[in-house]
Symmetry: C2
Subunit: 328 residues, 2 copies
């Protein structure tokens, strides 16, 4: 990438995906950065690894449906394809799923008050804006099904679900199906971009449904290489977070507690912990922890550096995966 | 359930599911127990909660694809529907997925050596036994897609995937579609039960792909109520495991480390840790830990009891979810 080209930010596309919204909120200046869609989360990692993009934006965790395991496996570099990818930022996007499709011109006969409100869900159940009886195929990202359980169980029970790579790709597919039998769980923005009707709005089970995204960089690309890639400084300043992955020495009892006490003994609170199969041996895991604080450049400087030093003495393997300012 | 009726064991069906195989291996005596299929994992929990079944068998964790989040959320009783369900056993089943369907009578033109073997996968890529070009729809449980990535990417790229409640339900659906355009990722046993052809065998990415199942009971049903429900004692005897769930006191820094040190300070090793969204507040989690040892009936007796006493002083909420003998 030449010095005079605009820095490229790869994101899970196509346009109007929630990841696109996260990328826009993080890199809002179209004059100084180019947002570039990719087909899969793995493609975003590859673009950063092979330096065809300066930054990448990928979904990481949903407030009601939990971690995005594809992203965890890629960050852990389980398959050895992305050894140089680090995290350098995060973004939170409010996720209000809509059902998008081709309205039949028949208004919904469903009236408010007729619908079953399941007490296990906190969002009032959305009422379809038009008749859904001709919807025979649903498209979305697998994460979205788990966020819209009540609506799907009430209005679209038994309708086959097609997993695709992103919610906006789902809208793109539905736009191409002129029979009107397809519908997508996607964003309101995608209705505009792909010329679809909103058949129902805000169909997620929980109010405040939010997805957290990570901004990733190549290890050789400094966190703040140019003004256009600098993430805006929160005002007031917010705490830093660091992401670390490690594996255990399975011959030593209590090795997980030892690894975690490396953080607490330096006053670092853990804000999340995840595990995934190690990919090496059954029932061995890769652990992911987020802690407060940042790794400093100097060796042995700061609490995170000291915690990592201690972790190195007890974990079988470990990697620091980045530090960034919290956006929560 | 009358005294003279045979105890009922509910499992995620239909027949020939991997959960059915786990139930058969745990309760092999047809004379003394009745295995009874249920449609969803939640249905198995409900059967145990409302005591229409003495025991339930549910999938918990796959060696290559990780935890079954549906089961975690049900065990945590996130929706308040299953407050009395406890774990009383486990079973491990080797999972060799097959592609089942209606063979076209055209042998595969694929020859060994022609296929791309991706180094990230450890199982040699399976060769289809017959032509797959007419397969237009795939059915399986969502967990199975993630266990057969290489085969699907190589031979069935872009073919729409339909999520259903179990791999054997997928086979049942495919058996009913006489067009031959449907295929299921399912077990070899399901080919027999539903009269399907094996289009490809052992299509999972990893050798040794194994799923762990849990046996669940009602809290008021003792772990060993009758000889027919007694799980066979492993020979030689194996260690016990206990499952505990807890939530954190978020105002206290280091509260996760404190909760985990309740276990290590009593010499208990943690064998797994999982987190799920709490369902109460965004970015608050329910933690699940498995440790060695068993909870004894007497208060304050034994290491697990002492650890739980200490946990009670630092966690916001906690629940013991059962102790059982390891089958690993």
């Amino acid at each position: 990438m030449g010095e005079h080209e605009r820095p490229v930010v790869a994101y899970l596309g196509p346009e109007a995906s929630y990841t696109h919204q996260a990328a826009l909120s993080t890199f809002p200046n179209k004059e100084t950065t180019t947002l570039s869609p990719r087909t899969t989360i793995a493609d975003v990692f590859s673009a950063v690894q092979n330096r065809s993009a300066h930054r990448g934006v990928v979904p990481f965790e949903n407030s009601s449906n939990g971690s995005v395991v594809f992203t965890l496996d890629l960050i852990a570099n389980l398959h050895g394809m992305h050894p140089d990818v680090l995290v350098c930022g995060e973004a939170y996007v409010a996720v209000k799923h809509c059902l998008l499709g081709h309205a039949a011109g028949i208004p919904s006969t469903q009236k408010e008050g007729e619908v079953r409100i399941d007490p296990q869900f906190t969002n009032p159940l959305a009422i379809p804006k038009s008749d859904l009886s001709r919807v025979k195929k649903l498209y979305s990202h697998p994460q979205a099904w788990g966020q819209c359980k009540a609506f799907l169980a009430t209005y679209l029970k038994g309708v086959p679900r097609h997993d695709v790579d992103s919610t906006s790709r789902a809208a793109e597919i539905v736009a191409a199906d002129k029979t009107g039998e397809s519908a997508a769980l996607s964003s309101l923005a995608a209705a505009d971009v792909f010329g679809l009707d909103v058949l129902a709005e805000s169909i997620n089970d929980r109010k405040g449904n939010t997805t957290r995204f990570l901004v990733i960089r190549h290890a050789s690309s400094p966190p703040l290489p140019s003004p256009s890639l600098s993430l805006p400084t929160p005002n007031p300043p917010t705490p830093w977070k660091s992401l670390i992955t490690f594996t255990l020495n399975h011959t030593a009892p209590g090795s997980l507690a030892q690894c975690l006490s490396a953080f607490s003994s330096h006053g670092l609170s853990l804000t999340s912990i995840n595990t995934r199969p190690s990919g090496v041996e059954n029932w061995h895991y890769v652990f992911f922890v987020e802690c407060g604080g940042r790794k400093e450049d100097g060796e042995g400087e700061g609490d995170v550096n000291r915690a990592l030093g201690e972790l190195g003495g007890v974990a079988r393997t470990w990697r620091w995966l980045g530090s960034w300012e919290s956006r929560l």
